[in-house]
Symmetry: C2
């Protein structure tokens, strides 16, 4: 198992209050929760709030399931950089006798992993991953490139934690820009500023910072330093529970990485660049509940006015 | 790998037309597709159509992620009955040297399964599974029991196929009733009739039949015969492509199975019974596209009136 990260006392207290209020439903596995109707209502309303802000760009809606072809994961650098976060899908492929042996072991909570074999699927590491091959299939980009809305879809990270803001399966509301380098950079920076306004408009104490991905191992520290130095990743941070503010949105400039990997070119045949932004749905709902209280009916009128518009 | 089921010629033709129209986006793995904006719009509008029909019952909204604790799967009979359909989540737990070895093998598309270990999660086998322990945690049912709306959430079945109506990861819109036996039976039968009206109201040539689950192996044939004999499962069938109509909705009476497994009792301490219904979102969208044409703007006015109400 990936190392379990203990909750701080205030994180444990928040989780207990969220469960008591019916916002989260424990599953027995840390970082995997059901969600109550108010939580889901806030989450979907935040998603619509982002959609209204994105509407002038008329992004194209595409949706993808929470599994990715294993081959695509193998072709990216994900297993070099984040082997500890990936989840792979295994399945049974045996005889009736083997199925009986597997079921008996499983029912006794003994190890039945020998009956499971690696399939051609992995869990979705990031909501934008399936966007790139989908756009590459179409041939060269139209002039000005494309903006894709892959929605608030599920992503998986193997990060078991007692912190309710650190989930293993969560919704990341992404937008993806694929175009010429300058266009992509300007879009990424514009959305960083707009997202800060959107989150502050909901009464959240949001600030932004240059950030780095949680690269694995010693060589990962160099990757992170390089990513910071080139300012490839920004994050917006909001206090939830815990000693430090929590990242609730990120803005990533991939340069030519994904376009090169999947063979996406601009209208005039040059290499395209890509950027994506992601709002962590569950973290933003938690930040709102932590900031304004566990009963959304009692939230400040201006916050309610943004999420429950007339 | 689970046995790949070839498409019939008309299924292959439908898939090709759906891809050409931008409704489905191939991922490279059969039964795993992205979806275009029209497909998603129809899917969400069908979901809202079901929600309007269910509104008089005021079901409680709960939502769950597409992974389930492995322990819960072990405690059900799922691995006895459907070992061929289950997906389990494996993950890395090794050193930096092992991570490098894994990444090298993966990048060369060689077998890297030895570096992956069974985690405490599996893919969601059915949308209603997490509902039962969530309700059990609350203690005895209120008088009259509960009706839960777990939404149009993702479920996984390891059934690779060239038939676009047979997906490995799909949305099943469920409703779950947990109450006294007679209440549950009447609810299940009532919804079977209502669902038939709902689907016929969209111009689909829907019929219902007694059905059985795809139990595994020889002993599975006896299970299926018993399930049919007791009329525990009904399905609604609609022609899509292929030699036979496709099941697009099912209505399952579990008797005391889940309530007993999770310890759910009625208000007066008796064993509860459970039933669920599920609409296969993607199959219903495909049935609509197959029946009324690939451009929803051209659909009959009465069908559009139901899905795009004023």
């Amino acid at each position: 198992m990936a190392a379990y990260r203990e909750a701080t006392p205030d994180q444990a207290e928040l989780l207990e209050a969220l469960v008591a209020a019916g916002h989260l439903i424990p599953s027995g596995v840390p970082g995997v929760y059901g969600r109550g109707s108010d939580f889901e209502d806030i989450r979907m309303r935040f998603d619509a709030y982002v959609s209204r802000a994105a509407a002038p760009e008329a992004p194209e809606v595409l949706r993808f399931p929470p599994v990715l072809p294993r081959r695509q994961l193998e072709d990216t650098g994900y297993l070099n950089n984040f082997p500890h976060l990936a989840g792979t899908v295994f399945a049974f492929e045996g005889s009736e006798a083997q199925a009986r042996a597997q079921a008996e072991r499983a029912h006794a909570h003994e190890d039945w992993s020998e009956h499971q074999h690696m399939s051609d699927l992995v869990l979705m590491p990031a909501v934008c991953y399936p966007v790139y091959p989908a756009i590459a299939r179409r041939g060269p980009l139209p002039p000005g490139g494309v903006t894709i809305d892959p929605g608030g879809s599920y992503a998986f990270r193997k990060e078991p934690s007692g912190d309710p803001a650190r989930l293993q399966m969560f919704h990341m509301r992404e937008l993806v820009r694929i175009a010429e380098p300058e266009t992509v950079q300007a879009w990424r920076d514009g959305w960083r500023d707009r997202a800060l306004e959107l989150l502050r408009g909901l009464g959240l104490d949001a600030s932004f910072d240059v950030a780095a991905d949680p690269f694995f191992g010693r060589s990962g520290r160099m990757m992170a330093a390089s990513q910071r130095e080139q300012e490839l990743k920004f994050e917006i941070l909001v206090p939830i529970a815990g000693p430090e503010p929590t990242a609730v949105a990120s803005f990533n400039y991939h340069q030519e990485h994904f376009a090169h990997l999947h063979g996406i070119t601009t209208a005039d045949g040059a290499a395209a660049h890509t950027a994506c932004l992601g709002f962590g749905h569950e973290r933003i709902v938690l930040a709102l509940l932590h900031t304004h209280g566990l009963d959304p009916a009692e939230w400040p009128a201006d916050v309610r006015g943004e999420l429950w518009p007339q």
